[in-house]
């Protein structure tokens, strides 16, 4: 017997929940994820590596040509850039609009607050297509917005408010506002009001208290909300398809055009994968950046 032999191991008793429970509880979600996310994704990756074919969805052989073509095409780069820029603008604007609302909701004890909650959630209570049509009525050349502007004499000719990036940005900002308000609200409500009072008592103005105490402590909410909105914006389809025209065409619209209109499944799949990878990189960089800013938070 060696001197280093371990002492007799005592089996730690585990009862149901201790060991088995959590694993079992993961199964339904895992099945769903594997069946409807991982497998389809693998299939799209495979498809993007297949040769094009005129007789079937894709041909027999494997090739990287679709990636090479896409990455060598300035048009694709422009659409990709526009998609990311639009996502960034929607994210920043929803943050700027949503933060004051979340801040107000977190600090308000008025009985009108519940009404404001419904108001905040209202974009989500209307169906996607109906909502987008409503935006078309408002933003089109002889729509409500232009008529109002012309009636007030602010413009002579109607402004181009849709069939470009602007219309898509406006509509996406509207619908994704709740996605930035809700995480921020949860975050702001968890910050003790005593902290702001402590800061004021130490001689700091409301503004300095906000900048030095509340804002840094709400970074997790900002991070969560902005990632949600960014990812949802760059992958949105119906809104850019209906409001974007050619001037506001995004990657997701382009991918669907490849698949449905041009029947170029492998090339479309390659575009989708490129978009996914780029989104992953952008979100990864953003996480790294924000994690640096949040390293002092508990």
């Amino acid at each position: 017997m060696s001197a280093t032999e371990a002492a007799p191991r005592v089996e730690t008793p585990t009862i149901g929940v201790g060991r088995i429970g959590p694993v079992w509880m993961l199964v339904p979600a895992l099945v769903l994820l594997i069946g409807f996310f991982v497998l389809p994704y693998l299939s799209i990756i495979t498809m993007s590596l297949r040769e094009a074919s005129t007789r079937a969805v894709y041909g027999e052989g494997f090739t990287l040509a679709h990636y090479a073509t896409a990455l060598g095409d300035p048009f694709i780069w422009r659409i990709l850039g526009r998609t990311l820029l639009m996502g960034a603008i929607v994210t920043v604007v929803t943050l700027l609009l949503g933060y004051p609302v979340a801040y107000h909701l977190a600090n308000s004890r008025s009985r009108w607050t519940s009404l404001l909650y419904i108001f905040v959630l209202s974009p989500l209570l209307v169906g996607l297509v109906v909502r987008t049509f409503a935006w078309m009525i408002i933003l089109s050349n002889n729509g409500v917005a232009n008529k109002a502007l012309m009636a007030m004499g602010l413009v002579v000719f109607p402004l181009q408010l849709m069939n470009n990036s602007l219309g898509v940005t406006i509509a996406l900002t509207h619908v994704f506002l709740p996605f930035v308000i809700l995480p921020l609200l949860g975050n702001l409500q968890a910050i003790s009001p005593d902290l702001a009072m402590a800061s004021r008592s130490l001689g700091n103005s409301r503004m300095r208290t906000f900048l030095k105490v509340t804002l840094p402590l709400s970074l997790p909410g900002i991070q969560a909300g902005s990632i949600l909105v960014f990812v949802l914006s760059i992958s949105a389809y119906v809104t850019p398809a209906m409001l974007g025209g050619t001037g506001g065409r995004t990657m997701s619209v382009l991918v669907v055009q490849y698949l449905v209109d041009n029947f170029r499944w492998p090339a479309g799949a390659a575009l989708a994968i490129i978009m996914a990878i780029v989104a992953l990189i952008v979100v990864g960089l953003y996480l790294k950046l924000t994690a640096r800013a949040m390293r002092r938070l508990p």
């Binding site: 902290l195 402590a198 800061s199 840094p216």
Partner: protein
């Protein structure tokens, strides 16, 4: 000259009258407790002083400067919270520097004062720690240091010990009181814990339902409570209803009660025939067995008869519940070794100096 004057402040929230004509003069360097049950208005009063609430009427003066309408950041206060309220994203040193930066104190001076105040709260070497790395007691000491390092004119403490466990709480009482006296800072302390207020304060403001029930030294409030509410809130007490039959001098009375005539002292100016209650603290009553050949009663001593209903051993004393002939119940603390048993007939003896009249 008073360091802080609260002058007839009122505060309403809708129909609720939270503060009714609250006036308290506070001398320089005094430690004042606002004591009362939750909802009595003590925290609202503190927030009015801090500037987080604005009274509907009345004035608040720091020295002779009217701060009633001043913002909290312009009042020159230090504040300590029940939740500690340390900034979780700042180290101990940064927490302490935060108020100094707002006051534009030069970096070298900042450093010196932070080191000084950290040694006062015995937390040297903790500068680089984050609040979450400290125990509750240490966090509260940092909070105290943060409030003191800016050298405010008034220190406001809002139930600072309520989140600490009992042993630590006892220790911190003396720590805070000692520190306050060394610094000599005028302090206002909100608490619902009467023993805390008792041991720490120069003066106590007993509040109830938005009004001041009594303002006085701990001794005043314990021995000469102004009302039955105050007597009931501070320590334990027995009260017997009666009517004044005779006034002996300015503050001595004879009161006819259902247990017999009791000699007592009380607030001056009570008229004969007034309905009153006589209050006696349990620790001021001595007991003797009924019919025992005890020493003759002193001239100012009261003797009442009753029977023991229950006896509860409490270590340092035995607490007796005694039923009087009239049916009134009395609580008595007996420190002696002589155990009285349930059913024993006893004589309760107390000096008229230890009996106090409460106006009914």
């Amino acid at each position: 000259m008073t360091a802080l004057t609260i002058d007839r402040i009122n505060k309403r929230y809708g129909d609720l009258h939270i503060l009714k004509d609250i006036s308290v003069p506070i001398g320089k360097g005094e430690f004042i407790s606002l004591l009362g049950p939750s909802g009595c208005g003590k925290t609202t009063t503190l927030r009015c002083i801090a500037g987080f609430e604005r009274p509907d009427s009345g004035r608040i003066l720091f020295g002779d400067r009217d701060v009633t309408r001043a913002l909290p950041e312009h009042r020159d206060i230090g504040m300590v919270f029940q939740s500690y309220a340390l900034f979780p994203h700042m180290t101990v040193a940064e927490n302490l520097a935060f108020g100094l930066e707002a006051r534009k104190v030069a970096p070298a001076e900042r450093k010196r004062r932070i080191a000084e105040v950290l040694s006062m709260v015995r937390l040297q070497g903790y500068e680089a720690r984050f609040p979450r790395e400290l125990s509750g007691g240490q966090q509260q000491r940092v909070a105290l240091a943060r409030a003191l390092v800016i050298e405010p004119s008034v220190l406001l403490l809002d139930e600072p010990l309520a989140n600490l466990d009992a042993t630590l709480r006892d220790e911190m009482r003396f720590f805070i009181r000692d520190l306050q006296q060394r610094v000599g800072i005028t302090s206002i302390y909100v608490t619902h814990d009467q023993s805390e207020a008792m041991v720490m304060s120069d003066k106590i403001v007993v509040m109830n339902g938005g009004v001041i029930s009594q303002f006085g030294s701990p001794r005043d409030i314990y021995e000469r409570p102004a009302s039955q509410t105050v007597a009931g809130f501070i320590g334990r007490s027995n009260t017997i209803a009666g009517t004044i039959t005779e006034t002996l001098g300015a503050d001595s009375y004879k009161v006819e009660t259902s247990c017999g005539t009791i000699g007592t002292h009380g607030p001056s100016g009570l008229a004969r025939g007034a309905d009153v209650r006589v209050m006696i603290r349990p620790e001021n009553i001595r007991t003797g067995r009924h019919g025992e050949a005890a020493d003759a009663p002193a001239s100012d001593e009261n003797m009442l008869g009753g029977s023991v209903v229950s006896a509860t051993y409490q270590g340092n004393a035995t607490q007796l519940q005694v039923r009087m002939a009239s049916g009134d119940g009395m609580v008595v603390d007996v420190s002696g070794r002589d155990p009285l048993a349930v059913g024993d007939q006893v004589t309760l003896r107390f000096s008229s100096r230890n009996a106090w009249l409460l106006a009914s």
